[in-house]
Symmetry: C2
C-alpha cells in the first residue's frame, strides 16, 4: 500500500446517512485512499446519545458526545447532524480552524449559506454539499462547474422523494392524499411529521441552493415562493390525466427578461408548487420516490439528471464523493474555490412570473355564463387557449351546474390571481375548484 | 467591473466546436470573469487555414497558423483540433509550459491518455475533458468526483448520437439502415465517411474514458471490445420490437467478479455493441441524436444523465465549463489533481463476459429439430429461457423452414460463440439470422 499522507476526518452525526458514511469510510478505506491520494482516518463520530441504535454497526470507541473537541485538528469535518443548531456553530468552528466541510444540510445552507461561505472564504477552506440538493444525484458539480461557461435558462426539478411518491401513487391508483400519506409513513417513505415534505419546505430549500448555483446569485430562502401538495386531491389528478398531464411538485428556477418592468435586464424566479406536467415530458416518467432535475441551458440545450433523491446509503455516496474531493484539494494545495454569486440577479416575486394555467370552475349552467367568464378573463389580461365544459348532475336545489376547465395562454401570475378572485365573486361561478400552473410544455 | 487578474487563453482549432467556444468567450466575457474570478483573454486562435468559412463570425486579428507561438505564455490552452497529430504535440507543449489544457479530443485521450496525464502531473497542471465523453452532458465530473466515494458497478451509455439517430429512425419507421444513413448524411447527422460512428470507434473511445474514470483503472482503447451497427437490419429491429426490446448501440462498462477464473478478485469489462434493451428501460426512451449514460453504483443506486451528445454549441458549453474550472484552479493555486488509476483492475476479454442473448435461427421444420438445437445449447452450457418458433413460408426446394428465436439465461460469451458455431454446422440450422446480447434487464 502506497505511503499516503493521513487526513483526519471528523464525523458529526450518525443517523441514517452518517452511519452509512462511517461504515463505507471504514470498509472501503484502502480504495478511497487510492482515489484521494490520502489516507482518510475517521477520527471520531460526534453524537447526542452514544448508545442510540444505528443502521450500521460501528466501533464503540469512535463515538463521542463532544463535537467541539472532535473538530479540533480535523482536516475534513462531515456535518450530518441536520437542523440549524448546533450544526451551524460546529460548521463555523470547523471552518475557522481551516478544515474543509462536507454537509448534506440543505436547511442550514438555504438559511445561513452566505455566512458559511464567507467563513470558508476567510480561511481558504471549501464547503462541499453535493448531498444537499437531490440525494445521490450529482447535480451540484454539474451546475457549479460543468455549466459554469453556459447560461442556465431554467431548472425544473422533482427534488422531494416523499411528495413524488405520494403524487405518483395518487396518479397510478386514484388514491386519496391522506390514505397514501399514511401508507407512506408506515413504509418509511414519509416522516411522522410530514410538514417539511408535503408543504414544500424541503423542496424550497433545495430550490434555493440550485438557483444560487445556476444563476450565480445568492438566493435567500424567503425569496422562494412555496406551495405544498396538501390541496391536491384525487379529482384534480383525474382531471389532469384527462387533459394529458400529471401533477408533480416542481422546483422551478427560471431566468427571465423582466418584461413586466419594461426593461431588458434579466431577473430570476424561484418557486415550488404542484404543477401540471405534460405526460410526454421526461419529468412525467419519474416515478416513486425518485428525483430528477431537468436543466435548460442556452448552449447545452436540455439536460436531465435522474436518480435516488434520498435514502441513507444513497446520500452517503454523495457525501463520500465530497470527502474525496476535499481530500484531493488538501493534497493539491491552494485555497478553496468560493461560491460564485457575483451575477446578483434580482429575484422576482411570484406575482411577476408568467406561466400557463389550468383553471377549473363550477358554474351555473345557463346561457351566457361562458361569455361572462370569458369576458372576465379577457378583461383581466388572461387569454384563453382551451375550454372544456361538462354538465354535472343537478344539485339538490335544482339549479344545474357545469364544470369548466380553462387552459390559458401565458399570463402574469398577478393578473391571473386578480382574475380568479373576480371570477369567484362574479355571481356565475359557484366554486373555483382548482388553479394549477402548467410547466414544461 | 471588479479588477480581476487576466488569464491568457489560447484556442487551437476553430471548427464546429472551436468557433462556438470563441464566440461565447468573447460574448460572455464579463459574465465568465465573474464566475471564474479571472478575466479570460482570448489570446488567439490557431487554425490551419486563416480564411476558412466558420460557423461564428470572429475578429480576423485573432487567427494565426502558428499554434506553437500561440501556446507560449498561455495559462489555459483549449485543444479542439481533433485527431492525434498535431493535437498531441501541441497538448504536450502546453502542459510542459505549465498551462492547463481543456480538450474534447476523445481519440487522443483514449489512445495517448497516460502520456498526457503523466505530462500534466509532472508540472502540476490539469487536463479537463468534460466535452470528450458525451458532448454537453456532464458525466466526467460526476464519475471522477461525485461518485469517487462509491463503487460503480455498471455503466450503460448511449454515447454516439449518429448511431442512435439511425437506430431510432429504423425503429420508428421500419426503414433500412442504408436509407436512414444516407438521409442522416444529407441532414448533417452523419459524416460523409460514417465509419467512426457506425462501426463503433467513436463509442469505444468514449467507453474507454468512462471506464477509466468509473473504475480508477487505465483502460487502453484496444481493451475495448467493439462491434458496430452495420449488421443491424430492419428484420432484426422488427423482431426486437416483437419481443419487447429496442436495439441500441451501447457502451457497457462493467465491474465483475472474475468467476470464470475461479477467483474472487474483481475485474472489469468494457465493450461496445448493438444490444437489445427492454422497452421499459430508461435508455429505451432516448430518441434521435440524444445521448444518455445510465450508471449503477453500489451505494448511489441507479443514476441517469441525459442530453445532447454532440453539436457545436452544445459541446462548447462543456468546453467553457472546463475553462472556468481551469481558471478557478489557477486563481486558487495548488497543483492539478491527477487521474485516479490506482485500482488497476484487470480487464477481461469479451470471451469471459457473461450476458443474456437472443439467438435467431432458421431451421428445417421437421420433428426433432428443436430437441437437437436444445441439446447443442445445453451441451454448450447455454441455458434456454424462452423459445418462440414460427413456421416460415416454404422455400423453393420444398423443404419447410421455421424460425426459432431463443432467449438465453446468462451465459459466458465464449460458450455462446462456440455453441453458435456448433449450431451453424449442425445440419439442422439453415441460417444463423442474428445473435444479439440483451442488456439492462
Amino acid at each position: 500500500m502506497t505511503d499516503y499522507r493521513t487526513l483526519r476526518v471528523a464525523l458529526l452525526g450518525a443517523g441514517a446517512v452518517g452511519s452509512q458514511v462511517a461504515g463505507l469510510l471504514l470498509r472501503h478505506g484502502d480504495e478511497l485512499a487510492d482515489r484521494a491520494g490520502a489516507r482518510l482516518e475517521l477520527a471520531g463520530i460526534a453524537v447526542r446519545t452514544i448508545d442510540a441504535p444505528r443502521d450500521v454497526e460501528l466501533p464503540a470507541e469512535l463515538f463521542t458526545t463532544d463535537a467541539e473537541a472532535l473538530i479540533v485538528g480535523a482536516d475534513i469535518v462531515i456535518e450530518l447532524m441536520g437542523g440549524i443548531e448546533p450544526a451551524r456553530t460546529s460548521m463555523l468552528q470547523a471552518l475557522a480552524s481551516g478544515a474543509d466541510v462536507v454537509t448534506a444540510n440543505k436547511a442550514l445552507l438555504a438559511t445561513h449559506g452566505p455566512e458559511i461561505f464567507d467563513a470558508a472564504d476567510q480561511v481558504g477552506a471549501s464547503v462541499y454539499y453535493e448531498a444537499a440538493a437531490a440525494g445521490a444525484i450529482p447535480i451540484i458539480r454539474p451546475l457549479r462547474d460543468s455549466l459554469a461557461g453556459d447560461r442556465v435558462r431554467r431548472i425544473m426539478g422533482i427534488v422531494n422523494g416523499t411528495t413524488n411518491y405520494i403524487l405518483d401513487r395518487m396518479d397510478t391508483e386514484g388514491a386519496a392524499f391522506a390514505d397514501v400519506l399514511s401508507q407512506a409513513q408506515a413504509l418509511g417513505f414519509a416522516e411522522a411529521d410530514p410538514t417539511a415534505d408535503v408543504e414544500g419546505y424541503d423542496a424550497a430549500q433545495k430550490a434555493a441552493l440550485l438557483a444560487s448555483l445556476a444563476f450565480h446569485t445568492a438566493v435567500p430562502l424567503d425569496a422562494v415562493h412555496r406551495e405544498g401538495i396538501t390541496g391536491v386531491d384525487a379529482a384534480m389528478i383525474e382531471s389532469a390525466r384527462h387533459a394529458g398531464y400529471v401533477i408533480k411538485l416542481l422546483a422551478v428556477c427560471e431566468r427571465i427578461e423582466d418584461a413586466a418592468a419594461g426593461q431588458q435586464a434579466d431577473a430570476i424566479s424561484v418557486r415550488v408548487y404542484p404543477a401540471l406536467v405534460p405526460r410526454s415530458h421526461p419529468l412525467a416518467s419519474v416515478h416513486g420516490a425518485n428525483n430528477a432535475v431537468f436543466v435548460e441551458a442556452e448552449a447545452a440545450g436540455s439536460l436531465m439528471f435522474y436518480g435516488a433523491g434520498a435514502g441513507g446509503v444513497q446520500t452517503a455516496s454523495a457525501v463520500l464523493g465530497d470527502v474525496v474531493s476535499a481530500a484531493r484539494r488538501h493534497i493539491a494545495g491552494g485555497v478553496g474555490v468560493g461560491e460564485s454569486t457575483r451575477a446578483n440577479l434580482p429575484i422576482l416575486p411570484i406575482g411577476r412570473v408568467t406561466t400557463r394555467y389550468q383553471i377549473t370552475l363550477e358554474v351555473d349552467d345557463h346561457a351566457g355564463v361562458l361569455a361572462t367568464v370569458a369576458g372576465i378573463l379577457t378583461e383581466g389580461r388572461v387569454s384563453i387557449a382551451t375550454v372544456e365544459q361538462t354538465v354535472l348532475t343537478e344539485e339538490e336545489q335544482g339549479a344545474p351546474v357545469a364544470r369548466l376547465v380553462i387552459g390559458t395562454h401565458k399570463a402574469l401570475e398577478q393578473d391571473l390571481s386578480d382574475t380568479v378572485a373576480r371570477l369567484a365573486s362574479s355571481g356565475v361561478v359557484e366554486r373555483v375548484v382548482s388553479v394549477l400552473r402548467v410547466e414544461g410544455d
